[in-house]
């Protein structure tokens, strides 16, 4: 292990900005609130910067003051906006920095979206949260975000206005599954080689879009295992290849039958292959959280709720253990 920072402090997101090598740690102090730390020397030293905060008087719902409860996603603003950073929070606010993270401002247009107060609710956390921020590298004002529970929202003007992109998704946990918002995408990612190909691991299955989120298609295996889970990753060189880390079900959030499996599709979700070689196949209770499965070229890495970190050099065909005794793993990323 090269370094360990903030021992004993839960880190919701560990993020390395590929543009400049800056490391970020989103902290979740139980007592002292969320904090944001920045390192420009790969974790040798850190400086605390002001974490995103809700302006005075803002409310989650009528009578419930808004305070940042969790930093749940972080993304850089692209190569044309070198000082821009995005952060998604619980209770549902998106924040943007235009000064390299020295300060963050609430994105008012989304916070004031007419669906928010009545149509968004907690999922995974007590209040709504933004866990996915997908910036289109072809046009960095074009962004998709994922909210639990609300769904997928899209902006084409860097957050000035938003469109709901939930068509084709299901929300079978709702009394009225035909609602406009209230969907539970656990994570949303885009294929680097074709950003119009979006993938999401949703509470109600695995969904894919080939038209930038305008339409979603359920590509789950009805009988599993590729069905319920939290994480998803897409190959850098193939928009039809993706990995998921299945859990049993929403009512039983453990490995399926005590065995850890990663599933990969090579054909856009038509079929899924079970990858188990090198993964524990008995007495295993690990699941993989939404930001803890990533890939880079042929390498795939995931971390689990029981502190196991696994690595595959060949797109998941074979796995080896990197570490068995880490704390619960929330977030994994390749860093240069």
């Amino acid at each position: 292990m090269e370094s360990c920072s903030f021992e004993g402090v839960p880190i919701s997101i560990a993020y390395a900005d590929p543009r400049n090598g800056t490391w970020w740690a989103c902290q979740d102090h139980g007592h002292w609130g969320v904090k944001l730390q920045r390192s420009k020397d790969r974790g040798k030293s850190w400086e605390e910067v002001t974490a995103p905060a809700y302006p005075e008087g803002e409310e989650v719902k009528d009578g419930m003051p808004a305070t940042t409860r969790y930093l749940w996603s972080m993304a850089h603003g692209g190569n044309n906006y070198t000082s821009r950073l995005w952060i998604g929070t619980d209770p549902g606010g998106l924040f943007v920095s235009e000064d390299g993270g020295n300060s963050f401002q609430l994105v008012e247009s989304l916070w004031k979206h007419p669906t928010r107060k009545e149509g968004w609710f907690g999922g995974g956390r007590d209040l709504p949260g933004i866990h996915s921020i997908v910036v289109d590298p072809r046009d960095e004002d074009h962004i998709h975000i994922g909210i639990s529970c609300a769904g997928i929202f899209e902006t084409t003007d860097a957050g000035k206005s938003w469109a709901i992109r939930n068509k084709g998704m299901s929300a079978d946990f709702l009394p009225d599954p035909t609602v406009e918002t209230g969907f539970d995408p656990h994570i949303v990612v885009a294929a680097p080689s074709n950003p119009d190909f979006l993938w999401q691991q949703n509470h109600c299955g695995i969904f894919r879009s080939t038209d930038g989120g305008k339409n979603w298609i359920d590509v789950s295996e009805p009988q599993g295992p590729a069905r319920f889970g939290f994480a998803i990753a897409v190959a850098g060189d193939n928009p039809d290849q993706a990995w998921v880390a299945p859990a049993d079900s929403d009512v039983n959030r453990t490995a399926i039958h005590g065995a850890l499996v990663i599933c990969r599709t090579d054909d856009g979700g038509k079929t899924w292959k079970q990858l188990r070689n090198g993964l524990p196949q008995e007495n295993c209770f690990d699941i993989v959280y939404r930001h803890a499965l990533v890939n880079d070229s042929n390498a795939v890495v995931f971390g689990t709720t029981t502190g196991n970190l696994f690595f595959s050099p060949d797109r998941g065909e074979n796995w080896e253990v990197i570490n068995n005794y880490l704390p619960m793993i929330y977030s994994v990323q390749f860093a240069d």
Partner: protein, 90 residues
């Protein structure tokens, strides 16, 4: 002047934190003085809207404050104000 004391747990983040005398006549005024001495510390104690964080307590002369929203609990010239973490979770 009131004397402000802090839980040892805050010293992890503010190593120089020590008992501090404050002139303020209200809790928000006292915290403002503390913030001037230890920049950033009030963000650990108060949330975005200036309310006492859920798992933080303030005691005035051994009595827990009642108003966690506006921090309007009164205190005396020579009161001891103790900022502590609630032992939530065990």
């Amino acid at each position: 002047m009131a004397l402000v004391k802090f839980t040892y747990a805050l010293k992890r983040f503010f190593p120089k934190l020590a008992d501090t005398k404050a002139n303020g006549k209200t809790l928000p005024a006292v915290l403002q003085e503390i913030e001037a001495s230890y920049p950033g510390v009030t963000k650990y104690v108060l949330d975005d809207q200036g309310r006492l964080r859920q798992h933080v307590n303030i005691f005035i002369d051994g009595v827990m404050i009642k108003d966690r929203t506006k921090l309007s609990d009164p205190f005396q010239e020579n009161s001891e104000i103790y900022i502590m973490q609630a032992l939530s979770g065990g």
